[in-house]
Symmetry: C2
């Protein structure tokens, strides 16, 4: 009987969860749409969804070793508590205590970007390379740091907030208090802003702005729309500048990417690599890039891997 673990990825819009094998294979999966804002309600729904998942897996996958839970925000990993999640509006939610009470098994709680990094490190890169900086490209820009084969969380669990590095010190103010943060330029809103600023006044006035997303811009770029191509070129170049700084700081084996925006391939990573090759004289030859093959599920898988692989 193969050992398995449950991975739960609690996001701002939905909760994704699944049964994951010890080798990192996602055996089955379910989604709770519209993440309940009440923590207790949310955890109840997860308990019920886990029970359903376990009913549908075949016998040899019912040997659950533990549960890993990923949440965006400030996490107290030692005690399994969400200290604060701005996206969910949660404060001091005792995730471990709740799930341990229900499932009588080990429970690990981790920041979502860290969980994704752990999934990429353990499963996609098979733990062969020990120093991995993982950049999550989505609504926000997050980071997970694998240092010498361990998750590095910093002195109080807040390490890896790489989306809040100043890319342009005199740039626009960010919600975090800093100015010109990477996230303002490479995150979802930064991409939209770049696109809209390139539209002519006429087009901007007549555009259905709410329907424009990084995905629609990416589709247009792939069909040859110049403004969309330019939008991703500029974003990719800024990502290249940032990747060069990250390489000079960490000299990592790999800079890995995940998150929805990482699915855009060459229109984003082509310009990134060009800028990196041009600027990164110190560690250029030593740094590899990697893009997650399953950004949609890496949070579930990484959370489950917290159960199987020692991470701190």
């Amino acid at each position: 009987m193969e050992k398995t673990a449950i991975g739960v990825d609690i996001g701002g819009t939905k909760v994704k969860l699944g049964v994951v094998s010890k080798t990192g294979k996602l055996i089955n999966r379910s989604v709770i749409e519209n993440t309940p804002r009440s923590p207790v309600e949310c955890m109840k729904r997860i308990v019920s969804a886990v029970s359903s998942l376990l009913r549908t897996v075949d016998g040899r996958h019912k040997n659950i070793s533990g549960i890993g839970v990923a949440v965006a925000g400030d996490i107290d990993c030692r005690n399994g508590v969400v200290r604060f999640s701005p996206n969910l509006g949660w404060r001091n939610v005792e995730i471990r205590r709740y799930f341990k009470g229900h499932f009588k098994t080990d429970v690990f709680v981790e920041n979502d970007a860290n969980a994704a990094a752990w999934g990429i490190y353990c499963v996609e890169l098979k733990r062969k390379l020990k120093n991995v900086v993982c950049i999550t490209l989505g609504t926000g820009v997050g980071g997970g740091l694998v240092i010498d084969g361990r998750l590095y969380r910093g002195s109080t669990g807040s390490a890896g907030e790489i989306g809040h590095v100043s890319l342009f010190p005199d740039g626009e103010k960010c919600n975090c208090g800093n100015y010109g943060c990477v996230e303002r330029y490479i995150g979802r809103d930064g991409i939209l802003k770049k696109f809209l600023s390139r539209l002519s006044a006429d087009k901007r006035a007549s555009a259905d702005i709410k329907s424009i997303t990084p995905e629609t811009i990416a589709r247009a770029a792939k069909s040859g729309d110049k403004i969309s191509i330019e939008t991703f070129r500029e974003t990719g170049e800024q990502l290249g500048v940032f990747a060069c700084s990250i390489a000079n700081i960490f000299n990592p084996d790999v800079i890995a990417f995940t998150g929805g925006i990482s699915r855009n391939g060459d229109i984003l990573f082509g310009p990134m690599k060009r800028i990196f090759a041009k600027r990164c004289g110190l560690t250029r030859k030593k740094t590899r890039f990697y893009v997650s093959k399953q950004p949609e599920n890496i949070g579930i898988i990484g959370s489950a891997c917290l159960v199987f692989v020692p991470h701190s």
Copy 2:
């Protein structure tokens, strides 16, 4: 009899060395002026200086456990080889082999910024705080990363090149290939440039430019010279922007400073702290600053500590 180690700090202009006690106390010290450019000549001079040092310490300090050697550049710590030191023009210099042949004891070779970080971590901070980012402020801007109580060197030993993070992506070209590197603004030449650009054309024409150094500017600032004060204010503010990025990446216990320019106290660190307090919303309350009390000797002491304290 107290155990001791030899620390050797090979710099571009001079070699500093000393006998260091296990508690990190510098027992005696000597300096070789004008670092010989020939590696063999340099190592011979060091052997001779070490022998002199050992003759002058009293009996209870002659129990040498090993030698630590710090060199600016790209170091292969595992094999004790200087791969490349641009300052010295050295390539593939087998430091460990040479000294082991002479002294029949353990020899550790380390990048100079790492050695300084190790000295601050082990001796000045007494290993109480496990995550320390050390910023060396001098001609260049270097970095040493202590992560969970170990020196983090990256995948090929080049980690911590934090002076080559882009502070201004569209800024001036750096020797490393990147643009707008931190070192260009906060390093020696950046400070001089700020000062000169503030002088009136008349004054600039008549100034004895070679006699102007960060030290002379600092002295003038402390006597109330406005242009000098402004020079350090701008430098400190840029350092504050950078420190905020470092805090958001590492969530360290401490950001520590050493190097000649770190001796300037409030004229530099006052503006840095103001900007940090304003911008660093995420980890402001969790980050402490520390300035080395003995920047002149921390390279010697840190090198010797490589012998006493497991570091990788």
